[in-house]
Each structure stands twice: as C-alpha cells, then as structure tokens.
C-alpha cells in the first residue's frame, strides 16, 4: 500500500512538472501580459522595453524557463504583479487556500447532507411526485448560471431579509488568525463571535457552490440505490423476512454508497472551477477569486502557482478517494 502511494505521489510530481513547462511556454508566447499590467495605459514603447529588460523578459525562452525552474525548486515562484503585488506567489496560494478548502468542505457537506437522503428517498419512492420533482430541481440546479444564483441569494438573504452578510469571509472583527480557516480559528481561540460570524459568511457561497455536487450526488445515489434494490441479495434478505430497517441500513445503503464516494472525489475538481465564479461574486478570498484576478491582471506568477496547485490538489484528492475506496471495498485491493 505504501509503495503504491509513494509511486502515485512521484507521478503527481511528474505531472506538475510537465504542466509547469506547458504553462510557462504558453503564457510567455502571448502578447501583453505582465508588462502591460504593471505599466497600464501610461506605457510607452521605451518604458516597455526598459521593464522587459529589467525583468529579463527579453531573454530567450529557454533561459527564462531554466531560471524559473531553478527558483521554483527552492520554493520561490516569483512575486505577484496583480493579485497582491510584491507578495510571493506561493505565499498567496498558502494564504488563500484555507478559504477555498473551508468553502469546499461546507459545500460538499451541504451536497452530501441533502443529496444522499434525497437520492435514497427518491429511489425508494420511484416515480412518485417527490422523485420527479427532486430530479427536476437537481437538473435546474445544474443549469442555473452560478453568478445569477449567487446574485439572487445575496439579494434575498442579505439585502432584503438582512439575515446573512453579502460577501467576504468575516465582518470587521478583530479576530486572531491561527490556521487561516476562520471558523476553526474562532473555535480554537474561543472567539465564538468570530467563528459564528465566519460561519454566517460561509452559508450563501457554500450553498451556491453546492448546487452542482448536490445534483450529481443526488442522481448517483438514486441510481445506485435503485440498482442495489434490484440485486439478488436484497431480494434474498427480503425473502428471509428481515425487517425493512435492517435491509435498508445494512445492505442497501452500504452497497449503494460505494459509487457515491467516488463521485464525491470527482466533484472536487468541479468545486475548484466552481469556486472561481462563486468566490468572485461573494468576494470570498480564496484561490478561486485569486485565479479570476490573476487572469484579469495577467499575473503570471500567481497563475502558474495556482493552476499547478489546483491540478496537484485534484490529483491528491483523487488519490485519497482511491485509498478510501480500497478501504471500503476489499475487492478493489485484490485487483
């Protein structure tokens, strides 16, 4: 098992390495970019040339890449030019990553807590009104553009009702930062108001972000419960006269949950992408918002770090899911 994990991690490094090369070349072959972003509309051809020279952007690509690689290996990915100018790009990633994780965890929680029970119920009452309407709700959830949904939620719950904050991660509270996970920080430092405030800030964005994973988890649960209900062992159990409850708990749900676990892992990639939109609208300072800003400002250092880190995270989460899968289902290990 350990060797298997180590090999996978090694391959992940390989992927990130190739990705770094592709990204680097691609970004550098484009017009404009960093120089335009730094100098803005006051740029002149001379000032452009001067800045390009100072930043070493006039040198051959392979020299630039070699230099980049050398720096990157020591953990130095270059300074941001747009998202937070002057700050180390990797530090920006580290500072903002907890926000995205916090948001994603809550979104997945919402999706799981709603999706699995609803999927299970829908399957048990197949073709009922509940089944059909849940299917429609889940499909619409996927189709509604994220920013539109976000705007509606903000308008209803924050502006009109005033129950929840519009945006951000926390109000103007003098909170102590420990881990960067604001809810957790509040609990650790016993600043209950800070934790509560951070939690309130999480609700709307997490709800927005959860629509797609909810729809997927709901559908997979429903399909997989339906399938299991049809399997021989459930029929056998029924014929043995086991109570409904035992069948449900021991046989149906446990067997039906396997594909659901895989699906949750798959949703992580989608969450990262969904976070770009959600965090932008809710001004939630995670890597999703940073990605959008980095695109806008053509902040290449930050873009490179964030895209590579997203890919690495995605791969890592899938690795964890595979391990979990192996733990839940012994058959996989023998394969």
């Amino acid at each position: 098992m350990l060797r298997f994990i180590v090999r996978r991690l090694a391959q992940m490094v390989g992927v990130v390495f190739v990705l770094s090369l592709l990204l680097f070349l691609w970004l550098r072959l484009l017009p404009g970019g960093t120089v335009s972003a730094i100098l803005g509309d006051r740029a002149t051809p001379e000032s452009r040339a001067r800045l390009e020279k100072a930043l070493g952007l006039d040198e051959p690509l392979w020299i630039q890449y070699w230099r980049y690689l050398k720096r990157a290996l020591t953990g130095n990915f270059g300074a941001s030019t747009g998202v937070l100018p002057g700050r180390d790009a990797f530090d920006i990633f580290l500072a903002r990553f907890p926000a995205t994780i916090e948001l994603s965890i809550f979104a997945i929680l919402i999706a799981v807590l709603l999706g699995i029970p609803m999927g299970y119920l829908a399957a048990r009452r197949r073709a009922s009104l509940f089944d059909n309407s849940s299917i429609i709700v889940s499909l619409i959830g996927v189709a509604v553009p994220v920013f539109f949904l976000a705007f509606l939620l903000q308008y209803i719950f924050a502006v009109k009702l005033g129950w929840l904050p519009v945006s951000g991660r926390q109000g103007n509270i003098n909170a102590t930062r420990v881990t960067g996970f604001f809810v957790l920080d509040g609990l650790l430092t016993r600043e209950w108001d800070a934790a509560w405030d951070a939690l309130k800030h999480l609700i709307l964005p997490a709800l927005t972000l959860s629509t797609i994973p909810f729809a997927v988890i709901f559908r997979i649960t429903r399909a997989s419960v339906l399938e299991v209900l049809d399997e021989d062992f459930v029929r056998t159990a029924e014929s043995k006269g086991l109570t409904n409850r035992v069948i449900r708990g021991r046989h149906v749900l446990r067997n039906a949950l396997l594909p659901v676990v895989t699906t949750i892992g798959l949703q992580v990639g989608g969450l990262l992408a969904g976070a770009i939109l959600t965090e932008s609208v809710f001004s939630f300072g995670g890597i999703g918002e940073a990605l959008a800003l980095a695109f806008e400002h053509r902040d290449y250092s930050v873009l490179q770090v964030l895209i590579m880190a997203s890919a690495a995270t995605f791969v890592l989460v899938n690795l964890i899911v595979d391990i979990l899968y192996a733990v839940i289902d012994p058959r996989v290990r023998t394969r």
């Binding site: 017009p31 130095n76 300074a79 990797f90 580290l94 500072a95 929840l164 250092s301």
Partner: protein, 564 residues
C-alpha cells in the same frame, strides 16, 4: 525542502479543519433559526466611528512612491501628505506641508517655505532635511525600481541619478529648518504642480532608512518590496492600523497627533470587493458606507434607494487614436476630418455616458489652463463626411478599429457599447470597419503601443492640472501612439509643445496652449477627441462630508457616519 514542508502543513491543516468544521455546522445549525434572524451581518458602522469603503482591488504597496494605481493611492492619501495638496473638489494645488513656494526668475530654483511643528507619526520632525531626504531617495533608485515601480517619477522627472536620460530634478538644499530649495535642470510647467501627485508624498526619513525603503528587488516576473512598503509612516490624518490579507480588509486609525484638524471619524476600513454588483449589494445591506466608480446605469437606482451619488467633475478625455503609419489613407487630413464628421458624438454622449458628460472639442477638459473655449465641436454630418471622403479618394476605405475587453475606465465606462456606436457611425458613411477586440492587459495596450491598430479607443485621466499633462503626454514626443512622426506636422507639433511647456510666464504659456489646442484640432488632427465623462462615487445613508475630487483624490478625514 521548504516547499514540501509548507505543503504538508497546508494539507494537515486542511484535514484538521475537516473534522472540526463538521462539528461547527452540527453545533450551530440547531440554533441558527433564532440567531440568524437578529444578526446584523457585520460590525461596521453602527457606532458611527468607522467609515467602511468598498474598494475594488488590493493596494499594491503602502509606499506611494512605488505605486501607480488608484486603489493604492486612495489608501495612502489618508496616511501621507505632500508639499502641495489639492484644493477639495478641484484639480488645483493648495498649500499642504509647504505653506508657500516661490520660483527664481528662470524657473529653475524653487524655494519652499515649510509648515512648522509637523511630526511624522513615528515622532520624527518634518523639516527641510526631511524634504531633501525624500527627494534624494526618490532620485536615487536602483535599476529595477527605475524600470517599473518608480513609474511616476520616471514619467514626470524623466530620469534618475546616473541614468541615461537627464532628470528634471537636480538637487535639494535645506536652507534652514523650514526652507527647502529644489533645483531643476530645466523649466517645465509641470513643476511644482506635479508635487500634488500622491507619489511625491513626504515620508518619515527614519522609517525609510530603517525599513530599507529603496531596496526593491526583481523576483520572477514581479518585484519584491522592502519591509517599509508595508509599514508606511507619514504626516496625514490617519495611520495604517492593520492589513488583514486573509479577510481582505485594511484598517486605518486616526492620527491623534495630526497637525491640522483631526479626522472626524476614528477608523476607516477598506474592504476589498472586486465584483461591482457585490459592492452595490453590500452598500444596500448597509455593510459598507461607500464605494468608487458605480456603473452610471446604477446611479438612479442607488439614489432612489436613498444613497448619494457624488459626481466628480470630468477631468479626463476619451479619444479615438489614428495610426497613419498602419493605414496610409489616414495620412490625409481630409480623411481624418471626414471620420470625425461621421461620428454622432451627441448621440453617443447622450446614450452611453452619464449626465454631465460632454462632447470634446479638444484633448483636455475645460478646467485646465490652456483650454480653448472658442473651439466648437466638429459637427455630425454624414453627407459632408461622404463628400470629403470622395474628395480624398477614400470612399469605401477599410478601417481596422480596436477596442479593449475586460476593462472599464472612468472615461470609458463601457468600451464595447461605445465602440459599437462609433462603428455604426463609420459604417454609415461607407467605411468598411474591421472590428478588433483584445483584452486590456492581454494585448490591447500592447497593441496600441506597438502600432497594431488603424484606429483605437483610449483615454486619459489627468494626473494634475497642467496642459502639458494632457497634450504634452499625447504628442510631446513625435514617437508616440499616434505615430505623428509619419505625418508632416509631427516634428513641428512636438517642438511647439515643448516650447510652450518652457514658457515661464503663466499668462503667455496659457495663450500658447490655447493656440496650440486650436492648431491640433483644426490643422493637425492627429487623433479624434471624443468626450469627457464624469466618474462618480457613491456614499450610503448617513454619510456626510465627502467631497468628490476630479483627480479621484478624496480625503476621508472630513467624513462623518451617522450612528444607526
């Protein structure tokens, strides 16, 4: 090594939070029904001692010398002051840290009488030595800083200590404690008004020294700033409280030792909210008190909801640039005039720009000395334009016309709609328009500088009140975006502009600029001045005392927020 260790921490932290965050939800959701109902979402406002401003972006650095963007200056302006200040509501200079200033006959030596009894927030005294330390510091920059961060100095003073280009700045002497003398290498009409620029703010010499302020280094594609850049020390009505990067808020606290009238509100919080519709929702929810550059389409709705939209006098110009090198048809003045006549600018201004926007008659707004008020806007005349094109043999000419995407500027709130309107006008006189769009930072600005477009949209917001800052910037050198070196007037025009800039006598200089404006519009027409558009900022209910500035140089020390 460092990398792997850091990554492990992040992952560990993530997994810890996974467990705990789960607890949090289950604990909290049980009592959420009652608690959320009463909750006011943020702690801002309320007590009336905090003014919360919704900023669109993060500041670059807190050292204004190395900054060039409005988001940074909005913050540092509350912390720093310059020798010259800006008269509220105008673009005109007024005494600030200097009480008066006097040039020598030839305009090369400027004597500044300094305000007495002013202290930096670190307790250091502000005096002539501090002024000279600041100027010498700005003058003496390493190569990296010269190329990028010290942008405003490079732009106004042209050169640095030991640089190839000669600097306007020569030296600074502290005559006595309250008298500083600045020597220039040549006269320019931009001095001393350029000192109203935020970048020329006075900073504490001790803090500059201790924070190694000049030590800007290249780091990858960007710059690494010294410690001082995050710990600014000025003489202004506020000082930096805390920059909470994780929560994207910057808080300023009142400088209780401020030499002038103390700030009315104890704290300012800048909350960074990049998305505009979110800023508006925040304002309507009452969790911010103001934000900048509301979309003109929102002004009415905002006012109907009880907010105040403060419209700034338009201190900008939107123009259509023309490149006679790329499209040789444009070398003919008749063609340029015909294009100008084809543009229905009255309709454009009425339908696409907010009220108060004006059709431009020249390349500068009317508040600048040198503005020629006798010039009339070129009349919209489709038939005339067609006839003129025919005369020039350019009927059915092709014109490649570019506009930027991913951007909104004060002079151009909605580039796409403006470009579409202008395109329709050009097509109406039989010009075949080839529309090109490029992202602002991803090829547009680059394309303009490299002469890739026949015609393009761009504009300018004045840095300070000087004619040279407008037309001098555009045509002062014949190597410019308009490619005037390709025309017969390019050299003459740049010579005329630098001559005008060198006239020491203010009255004569103004007359010279007026004449030049007329010449540019009637004889040269290197580009087409389109319009001036007033940008605005919006404040919520209960906010008073904010004066809109044409330079977007609003001071927040006079702002009061009603207790709610």
């Amino acid at each position: 090594m460092k990398l792997t260790r850091l990554k492990t921490t992040a992952v560990l932290a993530a997994s810890v939070s996974l467990g705990l965050a789960g607890c949090a939800t289950s604990d909290r959701t049980t009592d959420s029904g009652s608690a959320t109902g009463s909750g006011s979402s943020t702690a801002s406002g309320g007590a009336g001692d905090t003014f919360t401003f919704g900023a669109a972006g993060a500041p670059e650095v807190f050292d204004p010398y190395y900054a060039s963007d409005g988001e940074t200056f909005r913050v540092t302006r509350q912390i720093f002051q310059g020798l010259l200040g800006i008269k509220p509501g105008t673009a005109d200079p007024q005494p600030e840290l200097a009480e008066s200033w006097e040039p020598s006959e030839d305009g090369l030596t400027w004597t500044f009488k300094l305000r007495q009894g002013v202290k930096f927030t670190d307790g250091e005294a502000f005096n002539a030595a501090a002024v000279c330390y600041n100027f010498e510091r700005m003058f003496d920059q390493n190569e990296v800083a010269q190329a990028g961060p010290a942008e405003y100095w490079a732009y106004t003073m042209l050169g640095f200590k030991g640089s190839e280009t000669e600097s306007l700045y020569k030296s600074c002497e502290a005559k006595d404690d309250s008298t500083a003398v600045i020597n220039l290498t040549r006269y320019t009409s931009d001095f001393p008004v350029m000192l109203t620029l935020e970048s020329f703010s006075m900073q504490s010499p001790k803090a500059l020294k201790d924070g190694d302020a000049n030590n800007v280094q290249k780091e990858g594609d960007g710059f690494k700033y010294p410690a001082y850049a995050m710990a600014p020390v000025g003489t202004g009505p506020y000082k930096l409280g805390k920059y909470d990067e994780a929560n994207k808020t910057i808080s300023l606290v009142r400088n209780d030792d401020f030499w002038g009238e103390k700030a009315k509100t104890a704290n300012i919080v800048f909350k960074i909210i990049p998305d505009e519709s979110t800023r508006r929702q925040e304002l309507e929810a009452g969790s911010i008190n103001a934000y900048d550059l509301p979309n003109p389409a929102d002004w009415k709705g905002l006012e109907d909801a009880g907010n105040k939209v403060l419209v700034r006098p338009a201190f900008n110009i939107l123009y259509m640039g023309l490149n006679p090198e790329k499209n040789s048809k444009l070398q003919d003045l008749k063609v340029r005039k015909a294009i100008y006549m084809a543009l229905n600018r009255d309709q454009l201004v009425a339908t696409q720009l907010p009220e108060g926007a004006k059709v431009a008659t020249q390349f500068m707004p009317d508040t600048v000395a040198g503005y020629n008020s006798s010039l009339q806007p070129t009349k919209y005349d489709v038939e005339g334009a067609k006839a003129l094109l025919k005369e020039a043999g350019a009927e059915g000419m092709t014109l490649q016309f570019a506009y930027p995407s991913e951007v909104s500027r004060p002079y151009m709130p909605n580039p796409q709609s403006i470009a579409d309107a202008l395109t329709a006008d050009l097509e109406a006189v039989g010009i075949k328009v080839e529309v090109v769009t490029k992202p602002w930072n991803g090829g547009y600005l680059d394309g303009v500088d490299n002469g890739l477009f026949d015609a393009w949209l761009l504009g300018w917001t004045g840095d300070y009140n000087s004619a040279n800052n407008f037309i001098g910037t555009f045509f002062g050198s014949d190597v410019n975006d308009f490619h005037t070196w390709k025309t017969d007037f390019g050299k003459t025009l740049s010579k005329e502009l630098s001559d005008a800039d060198g006239i020491v006598d203010e009255g004569k200089r103004t007359t010279a600029y007026e004449a030049l404006n007329q010449k540019i519009m009637e004889e040269y027409l290197p580009g087409l001045a389109i319009s001036h558009s007033p940008p605005a900022l919006v404040v919520g209910k209960g906010v008073d005392g904010l004066t809109a500035s044409p330079l977007t140089a609003e001071m927040f020390d006079t702002v009061t927020v009603a207790k709610s």
